[in-house]
Symmetry: C2
Subunit: 224 residues, 2 copies
């Protein structure tokens, strides 16, 4: 009776009782969201645990004055657990989640998830370990923001994006690049001009093309 | 047979087999460290799990060029788990830990801790939940750094310190304040001058006295 749940592939699943499995199956829905949908809005809602089936989620922080810092992104097969923060007493900070492209998600109801997690130590360990994974992602991003110069951060980001879309062409505006780096458009604009002058990239309307990956990589931090 | 371990008070302890308890007891040592000791140095060592018996630990990030950002502090009764990062596959970032004052710690060997954690799901869940708690602390600090102006951050920090030592007198130099806030001494110096001019604090050699807590609190973020 374990078929029927998109969550059955995860390591906690065989450790659930069949009653717990049925409970999760009954309270899982699959929904599609248009590009730009705000799925989770700080502390005001609690969607539950999300499994990305198609598309891409962006998880970010938002300041009172509207500045954003992207923490990480989730792709098909990834689980999003901070969207169930109401079910996790250890998580007390607010994040925002948007669908960056048209996205299809399977979602376990937060209250049911919490109930099963409190009954089943395997699900609890799995959930908190997943959070620790994300903690590592976030710390990496934070160290970039706190400690690296904008040049290195922008170089690093362009290389990441290029690897992610498997193309030297990156379709992000300077406004979008600035948002991702938590800085001003002018700063990105100035730095891109420097990259162009150094023959590392060329610009097109709405994007950037990497022309010298090696040179850009030398700017990016050693750990990249 | 559960006596003899300073860790016996934690919720995972009764879920260990008596063999596992004995293993942890046999590999727990209690040691004292002078003020300023560097206990954990990025990724180069792995002390294990620490329980603060006396004193105070400071957990911080360090940039390549020597800048520090304090993430959180631990007091008597607190557990430090990131010092066992080698035993935690989900933790891939490097932190530094120093004894801020003379400090006494009980320490479980990292390899033994890892072994018992892999055998015992309760210890695993406990450990990762503790990490999620710290994640929340760190996110709060990061949001302060990323989103708040220095004035609000300094106000917030002075109020925290004052609450922690239960006195309006805070014995930290401008150099130390700057380190804690991840900024330059000049910035702190300028901001303190502004606070003095506003009659919120007075300065003494090696420290700051809060003279108008209400006014300072109005500068600090609403969540404080």
């Amino acid at each position: 009776m374990t078929s029927g749940s998109p969550f059955a592939a995860f390591s906690f699943w065989p450790h659930l009782t069949s009653q717990q499995q049925q409970q999760l199956i009954r309270h899982t829905v699959t929904q599609s969201y248009p590009k730009g949908s705000l799925l989770h809005d700080g502390s005001t809602d609690c969607m539950g645990v999300l499994l990305v089936q198609q598309g891409k989620l962006r998880i970010y922080l938002l300041s009172e004055d509207g500045r954003e810092v992207t923490l990480y992104r989730l792709s098909p097969g990834d689980l999003c657990i901070l969207s169930a923060s109401c079910a996790l007493e250890a998580i007390t900070f607010d994040i925002f989640i948007e669908a960056e492209v048209p996205t299809t998600l399977s979602r376990i109801n937060a209250a049911i998830f919490q109930q099963v997690m409190e009954e089943n130590i395997y699900l609890k360990a799995f959930s908190y370990q997943l959070i620790a994974d994300r903690f590592s992602d976030v710390m990496w991003r934070m160290q970039q923001i706190l400690f690296l110069g904008i040049d290195r951060r922008l170089a690093c980001f362009l290389l990441e994006e290029s690897a992610s879309v498997q193309s030297p062409q990156i379709h992000l505006t300077q406004e979008q690049l600035a948002k991702h780096l938590g800085t001003a458009r002018e700063v990105v604009s100035r730095m891109l001009k420097y990259f162009v002058d150094e023959n590392m990239v060329t610009l097109f309307r709405g994007g950037v093309t990497i022309t010298d990956e090696e040179k850009l990589r030398r700017l990016a931090p050693p750990s990249f």
